[in-house]
């Protein structure tokens, strides 16, 4: 009977071998994904009880910090001025996950990032309680505050960029929320607070500035103008600007919402009064491909600011002439985030060079040693410097003499463009304004959107509602 017993022994050996191999497999291939599961209470509790690093705005203002707590977790996450910075910090909750920088920089803030490995070992050896790294943002509290105050309780968003670097100087989205409610150690009330916000019809948790896309309306005429300049036109080239334009191969007429000042006007004039028919004609002239190419050079069809989950703005495909004419004035299926429209202004202001927008400049370990630094990066050259300068002047005219006069700042030359867009005839229009200042040496580019603008649909909406907000933001920066 010894032969079968030896075989049985061999089978038993295989069984034990499988147990050991499976354990090894689990440690190597399953461990990290298991630890990353949001339902993993062990990991979550440990993280929640950790001395998480701070999130800072410019000037070392703490916009998220950790203070000692006296309940079952050792530390409490606190957001001084939580509502003001919610769009950037996001929230950090026990069982409703996290958002914003709290989510994207979780490993660094919690101190579990690989770059902090040596630090962790030292902490372990010296029995110090480990501390996460701090995240330095580019947000300037003064500008952020000005933007929030100017927008007030209106639904909408404001984005301010440094055109030369791409740094996000301010990002406000309204209505906002207080992340302190969701970070509460009273897990139940925190969960309820989150659920209330998540089911709110005004969507306070969504980042309107970077994630949401809207029809850009007339602000898109900047892109069309840039494409026309690249196509060989000059600011003084004449364009047909009939009172109404019959859209090719349709029975639909595109009207002007303002008086264009003639049936054949310069491009400068067309931009100044935001003449629909002139820009529709320009779009038809330039053609679909060149218009799309220009839009993409400004950053359309790509995601930006991944740190805050930025979405991609869209320029539609396969257009017929009627659709092309509508797209050229920012209607039909063109959709852009406020961040994207700020990037358009920023690229024009930066002599045609589009900088990659970013919000985190440095990550520092607790001994203040930088472990991650962002260097400004060029995304593309959207325009030649000459064309950019021409367009800057044209935008200057829009503010000094045209629809954007509400953005005028005494003593500073400002360039801008208004916009009003309607996604649905039954909805109230969106009021847009995008601008930069000063004209000769731009320091800030801004985009503002106000949803549900409560005035009749015309091009003045952007100028009347959004331009003053942009002006307040620019004033704060200068």
């Amino acid at each position: 009977m010894n032969k079968p017993i030896r075989r049985v022994a061999f089978i038993a050996m295989i069984m034990f071998g499988l147990l050991l191999a499976n354990g090894t497999y689990m440690m190597i291939f399953r461990q990290s994904s298991l630890a990353a599961q949001p339902q993993n209470r062990r990991v979550r509790d440990a993280e929640f009880a950790q001395n998480r690093g701070a999130i800072l705005a410019a000037g070392k203002t703490e916009i998220a910090k950790t203070v000692p707590a006296k309940d079952r977790f050792k530390y409490q996450r606190v957001y001084p001025d939580g509502e003001l910075y919610a769009a950037i910090t996001g929230f950090y909750s026990y069982d409703r996950a996290s958002s914003g920088l709290e989510r994207t920089y979780n490993a660094q803030l919690a101190g579990t990032d690989d770059a902090l490995f040596v630090r962790r070992l030292v902490d372990l050896a010296t029995n110090r309680s480990p501390e996460g790294a701090s995240v330095q943002t580019t947000i300037v509290p003064k500008i952020q505050k000005a933007a929030a105050d100017a927008l007030g309780s209106q639904k909408g968003a404001v984005v301010a960029l440094d055109p030369k670097t791409g740094a996000v100087l301010a990002m406000v989205t309204s209505p906002t929320f207080d992340p302190n409610d969701i970070a509460s150690h009273d897990i139940e009330s925190a969960g309820k607070a989150y659920d209330r916000l998540a089911s709110n019809s005004q969507h306070p948790l969504s980042n309107r500035a970077a994630r949401e896309i809207y029809p850009p309306g007339s602000t898109f005429k900047l892109v069309t103008a840039a494409a026309a300049l690249a196509d060989g036109k000059t600011p003084d080239s004449m364009v047909d600007s009939p009172d109404r334009l019959k859209l090719p191969r349709t029975r639909v007429f595109l009207p002007n919402s303002t008086n264009c000042g003639g049936t054949k006007i310069t491009i400068t004039q067309a931009l100044k009064v935001s003449c629909n028919t002139a820009f529709a004609n320009l779009g038809l002239d330039v053609g679909e491909d060149k218009l799309r190419e220009q839009a993409q050079l400004f950053g359309f069809d790509r995601r930006h600011l991944p740190d805050l989950g930025g979405g991609a703005s869209q320029f539609p495909d396969k257009l017929n002439d009627a659709q092309l004419a509508l797209s050229a004035i920012g209607q039909y299926d063109v959709a852009a985030s406020p961040l994207q429209m700020a990037m358009v202004s920023a690229a024009i202001a930066n002599d045609g060079v589009l900088m990659d927008p970013y919000v985190v400049s440095t990550v520092r370990s607790q001994d203040l040693k930088p472990i991650q630094t962002h260097e400004p990066q060029q995304l593309s050259t959207a325009m030649t410097p000459e064309h950019a300068k021409e367009l800057q002047q044209m935008m200057g005219v829009v503010v000094s003499e045209g629809t954007g006069h509400n953005a005028q700042i005494p003593g500073v030359e400002v360039g801008g463009k208004t916009g009003t867009a309607q996604s649905d005839p039954k909805r109230k229009p969106f009021a847009w304004f995008t601008s930069f200042a000063p004209l000769d040496d731009p320091a800030i580019a801004v985009a503002v959107i106000v949803e549900d603008a409560d005035i009749p649909r015309n091009d003045i909406a952007g100028g009347r509602l959004a331009a003053p907000i942009a002006r307040a933001v620019m004033e704060a920066a200068l």
């Binding site: 009977m1 032969k3 090894t24 630890a35 339902q39 062990r42």
Partner: protein
């Protein structure tokens, strides 16, 4: 002509080695127990001296019994058993401390350990030889099958966590499968020793494998039906696998016909597939195994065991410093997950290796044994032990679908602990019978002996 002195090989008893290993196992257990106390409460509990005293006393009793009645027994098995039992006790104590006020699981387990040790001593001292068991083949076999099917008796069996493998008498609950495992291993061994010549006769030959004759299929079909009954009504794939696997393996060893093993494997595969198709509880177990995250609430336990082991990582959080309480049933079915969390994958693998050592020593006894009943019994007990460890630890670590088997010597529960102590006792008894020198006869010296004169017949 050189006269070669007759060589009598007297095996070494190795009781000293056993004692040293036992002291090591005991030290490890008590050290771990103290560590749990210190890590959780910051101080040694007042009960610690008693626990230490009782553990030491029980270990000493087993050692004395072995030294006295079975001095030639295998020296490794007993220390391994003591270490596993001790570690189980430590983990149960650790999980007791999660509750406030602490539960008394460890105290109960210690009482059951004492009963287990008592049964072990009875087997060692009173039974002392496994061969008389051969006389009660059918009585033991019947008792085993009755015990196995007992949970199906209405009013007696209770359903726990979907599986009906428990019986309740008054305040006591009992998992009869454990006792049935021992009884059936004995019954199978003696039955097969009797019938193996007949069962070894070859029938048809397919693909180079001799299949048994059709008329000999009776026993295997009966066992198959019983294990299917367990699967269908007791809803436990593990118990079903354990018994059918035990029977088929012993049949194969007894007859040396691979055909039996092939046939048995096919029958079991068919039964398991049938179960998968027809029973939601089997499907749920398979679902939890293949993709636990498809339903977090339903597969909560398996998922949390995974989380625990991932949290423990390679070296574990340290005794008393993990959170094994987050996994339901951490003290019984999922004690391996608690070990994996606090002692790490390294600790869990060490435990698996200790089980492996017991199995290896048991199979070694089987190989050395010279009579078929002892051989078959030792193989059966060792293999059932291996299969049980493989199924439950494999289930907890998601190598296999989870089943309701206990982790031998470790999970909380009296029936399992006592029965496994009996298994350990039986293995030691067999090993003693195998290794003890044959009764010594006065050496024969033909020169000295007088030649007997035999009167030739007329």
């Amino acid at each position: 002509m050189r006269v070669v002195a007759p060589v009598t090989v007297v095996p070494r008893k190795r009781r000293g080695v056993e004692l040293a290993l036992m002291i090591f196992a005991l030290g490890l257990t008590l050290g771990a127990y103290a560590l749990v106390d210190i890590n959780v409460t910051g101080e040694l509990s007042s009960a610690f001296p008693y626990v230490a005293g009782i553990c030491t006393l029980l270990a000493a009793l087993t050692h004395i019994a072995v030294r006295w009645r079975i001095p030639y027994a295998d020296p490794v098995i007993l220390p391994c058993v003591i270490l596993l039992n001790g570690l189980g006790l430590v983990m149960i104590h650790r999980i007791d401390l999660i509750n406030d006020p602490p539960l008394n699981g460890a105290r109960q387990q210690l009482i059951w350990t004492a009963i287990g040790v008592l049964m072990f001593i009875l087997v060692v001292a009173w039974l002392n030889d496994h061969r008389p068991l051969q006389r009660f083949t059918y009585t033991i076999g019947l008792a085993g099958i009755v015990l196995l099917l007992l949970p199906l008796v209405p009013g007696l069996g209770t359903e726990k966590f979907g599986a009906q493998i428990w019986i309740h008498i008054g305040p006591y609950s009992f998992q009869p499968a454990e006792a049935a495992k021992v009884l059936l291993a004995i019954a199978f061994a003696s039955y097969l020793v009797e019938k193996r010549d007949v069962l070894a006769l070859a029938g048809y030959r397919i693909l180079g494998i001799d299949l048994p004759r059709a008329r000999d299929l009776g026993p295997i079909l009966v066992m198959w039906l019983i294990s299917l009954a367990i699967l269908v009504w007791q809803r436990d794939l593990g118990t079903s696998l354990l018994f059918f696997g035990l029977f088929v393996m012993m049949l194969y060893v007894a007859t040396e016909r691979a055909g039996w093993a092939v046939l048995g494997t096919l029958l079991f595969a068919a039964g398991a597939y049938f179960g998968y198709l027809n029973f939601s509880h089997v499907r749920a177990r398979v679902g939890a195994w293949l993709d636990p995250f498809s339903n977090f609430d339903l597969y909560y336990q398996v998922i949390n065991a995974q989380f625990g082991m991932a949290w423990g990582g390679l070296l574990g959080t340290g005794l008393g410093l993990g959170r094994p309480g987050l996994t339901p049933l951490a003290r019984s079915d999922f004690i391996a997950a608690a070990i994996g969390e606090e002692l790490g994958m390294t600790g869990l693998m060490a435990v698996v290796m200790i089980y492996g050592l017991i199995v290896a020593r048991g199979l070694r006894v089987a190989l050395q044994c010279r009579e078929p009943f002892g051989k078959l019994l030792a193989t059966g007990l060792s293999f059932a032990f291996a299969l049980q460890v493989f199924t439950i630890i494999g289930g907890v670590t998601r190598l296999l679908p989870l089943t309701g088997l206990t982790t031998p010597f470790m999970s909380q529960g009296g029936s399992s602990l006592v029965c496994n102590w009996i298994v350990a006792g039986l293995l030691l008894v067999i090993s003693h019978q195998v290794r003890k020198p044959a009764a010594t006869v006065a050496p024969i010296n033909p020169d000295v002996e007088q030649t007997q004169l035999v009167k030739a017949g007329a």
